[in-house]
């Protein structure tokens, strides 16, 4: 079971290439897709979800070209788009029933699964309420439920935790971990901690291109010995930024604890354990410097 992306490109009229020469092979497991706003993540997700056609290259699902036969993937696809919409006049139960019918699922067995999914996303008590009255987080949970209706082999979720409160975010991460295994899960986000908690593979992109593709451990290893923390006066932060790549800063009175990535640390800096956020910021910075 694999989803192969071959030299994928997408060009929008008047906006140039949103995606360019993107080659990747997705296999079972959770792949985290990281990138800043405008990196082309959603464009890539839309192409993989068969709702957009690539301008160049092709996508192969188990050897079948999706341009010729998109339904082969749609039969086993679960997709949560970034701007997930609902029909406000329907209840959560009715909406999920509608999507189940659109996916071609048998009404009786779909009903059982819908009830279970509502339980799983903690919406059982709200299942008879009109979606028009749902909060953003509740709608997002309906979106997660609809993506899982057909027991998808390929699950594509674009910014799934947007609008979720911390408790629901943890619940979703656990659910995603539970789903991994025999499924291809592609999780797009710019929240590094979401990926850190669930992904067995991390793909980073920027300006429509693939920047990095590695296991989290490999990424962390590549950063070892290059991440530092130093305690400086507030007035010294800007000069520090000028010389080093400063990431997170934490203000303590008139002092600032700065985290930086550097091969040549300032005096007094101490080495710390790298995180995926360090790796992400380093890759993005290296790309922007190169371009």
């Amino acid at each position: 079971m694999q989803l192969v992306l071959e030299s994928l490109g997408k060009r929008y009229a008047g906006r140039g290439w949103a995606l360019s020469e993107f080659t990747l092979t997705l296999t079972p497991g959770v792949t985290g897709l990281l990138g800043p706003n405008g990196a082309g993540k959603s464009t890539l997700m839309r192409i993989l979800a068969t709702v957009a056609s690539p301008s160049a290259g092709r996508v192969l699902w188990n050897g079948t070209d999706l341009a010729r036969s998109p339904d082969t993937l749609r039969e086993v696809l679960g997709y949560l788009p970034q701007d997930f919409g609902v029909y406000p006049q329907l209840t959560a139960l009715e909406f999920l029933d509608y999507i189940a019918a659109a996916k071609g699922l048998d009404a009786r067995s779909a009903r059982q699964r819908i009830e279970q999914l509502l339980e799983l996303v903690n919406l059982t008590d709200a299942r008879h309420r009109s979606l028009g009255g749902f909060s953003g987080g509740m709608r997002q949970r309906v979106g997660i439920a609809q993506a899982l209706l057909n027991d998808p082999r390929v699950l594509i979720v674009d910014e799934p935790t947007a609008g979720l409160d911390p408790e629901e975010r943890v619940r979703f991460r656990n659910l995603l971990g539970d789903l991994a295994g025999e499924r291809i899960v592609l999780l797009s986000t710019h929240i590094v901690s979401d990926v850190e908690a669930t992904a067995s593979r991390i793909v980073m992109m920027g300006q429509g291109r693939l920047l990095a593709d590695a296991a989290p451990d490999a990424l962390l290893e590549s950063m070892r010995g290059r991440v530092w923390e130093c305690d400086v006066a507030a007035t010294e932060v800007e000069p520090l930024r000028a010389r080093h790549h400063v990431g997170a800063t934490l203000r303590r009175g008139d002092r600032v604890l700065a985290r930086l990535v550097s091969g040549d640390p300032p005096a007094g800096a101490r080495a710390v354990e790298p995180t995926l956020e360090d790796a992400y910021l380093d890759v993005q910075r290296a790309t922007s410097v190169a371009s």
Partner: protein, 550 residues
Amino acid sequence: MAIALSTAAAHPVRARHAGLGMLVRLVMADVLERTRRPGYLVSLLAMLWLGQHMLPASGAPYRTMVLHEVYRPIYNAAWVGTLTAMLTGMWFALIGFYQVKGSVERDRRTGVGQVLAASRLGSLTYLTVRMLGNAAVFASQAAMVLAAALIQQQVLGEDRRVDLWASASPFVMIAGPMALMVSAAAVLFDCVRPLRGGLGNIAWFFLFGFFMAGTRMDDPNAAEWRDYSGTRVVVNDVRHALAQQHPETASAPRVFSMGVNFSERFRNQHPQTFEWTGMRWTWRTLATRLPWLVLTGLLLLGARTAFDRFATAPRPAGHAWFGWRWPGRRARASGTAAPRGAHELVVARRGFAVFGVLRAELALLLKGPSPWWYVVVLGLWIAQIAAPLKAVREVVLPLASFWPALLWSALGQRERRDATGPVLFSCPRPVTRQLPAAWLAGAIVMLLAGAPALLRFAGGGDWAALAAWALGAAFVPALALCSGIWSGGRTLFEVLYLFAWYAGPMQHIAWLDYTGLTSARSASQWLFYSVAAVGLMVLAAVGRARQARS
């Protein structure tokens, strides 16, 4: 805040200029936003085409204004400008309103309104900006019509002398006040909650008809203020010129028609021309334009009164008014254990889902309207049972065919409106599964709307009437789907349907009577509606396939 206040007080002139500058910048931003929409260029090209066709050559099968059976003004600079300006004014009122309506509602939907409401921008200033934005769209359309008219003047060659003032001034004097009034009315409709959507579109159509009747162009003694389209002063002046040049026409019966009038007899009639040098605008004739400027101001003030400054969230389109549910959904499915994780979920089998999609499409159509909508349906059903069959065919069924118009107008565009497209289009067979179900749901609604009458037709063996209504039921949702998918909104269908309904079932123009009940339907009309229904569905399918892989 204190600094801002003291600055304003110390430099009142600068503050006032800053306000004017802000107004200009806001209008400019509004104009830029509108002119960069994909449909804008198309609308300008359409105006160029329209402008050219507003001036039919001798022997053309149609006329746009008839003032005398034999004579018409020569196509000189004054007449091409004046005639196109009058017709453009009518266009603004009839069609332009629908083009510009929705600017305030768009701010509400996109959330931009919340940002503006939190700024120092006054409500009246904001509404004026939106009104001027509407007027700017009209101005650009008028400019295209004027350009087309000047070209057509040269093409027709009856009098090629160019006089820009004579051609352009009628646009300012005649079409201008109309454009402002319609612009303000569109803003008012955006601010009054019940008039924001399809109900407003229908209300404007009837309001426009009411106004047209109020001008009383056939009454020479009617008050001049009634002449809101600016036509009467021109027509009187043209008639005066005709009487002077051809005195025998002074006693002839008055003839007046404005708009597109098709007749084969026009092909053989070559009207004689006379010279009309244009309006001499006096204070008196200019004063006839004043009431409409005053009305513009009143409409704007009305909008200001109704405007909630985006305090209320937009009611979700198609919001359920009352909470009936799909059958069999109240109780939790028995025997379904609560899962502890994704691994414990039951797997839903693939199956025959056609009825599921159809049921859902029907629910989407029928869960939106208020209880009052159903009360009217009930009234129409009772009338279909109780009224004589002739009245049922000519009055009740046309009304029943119109009543669900706002339900049908959601077809084809709600996937975009509610942003459900990406999910639905990533499902298997998005065109062949969901689209026919949506069409069938629309057809069922029309069949239900006329159900008692259909039973009476069946009882009386009137199979032709039954078939005609059924063909209408196939045609109308196909038109709605096609319009919704290709336009991305509901207005196109609402306007098309309104005109078709008014001209067809109500005015008995057989070719536009999609119900086929108010006049005898010829074989070619049967064929036309059958082919149109299929053709529209094919077009809808092509559009949907394009959307699904955009």
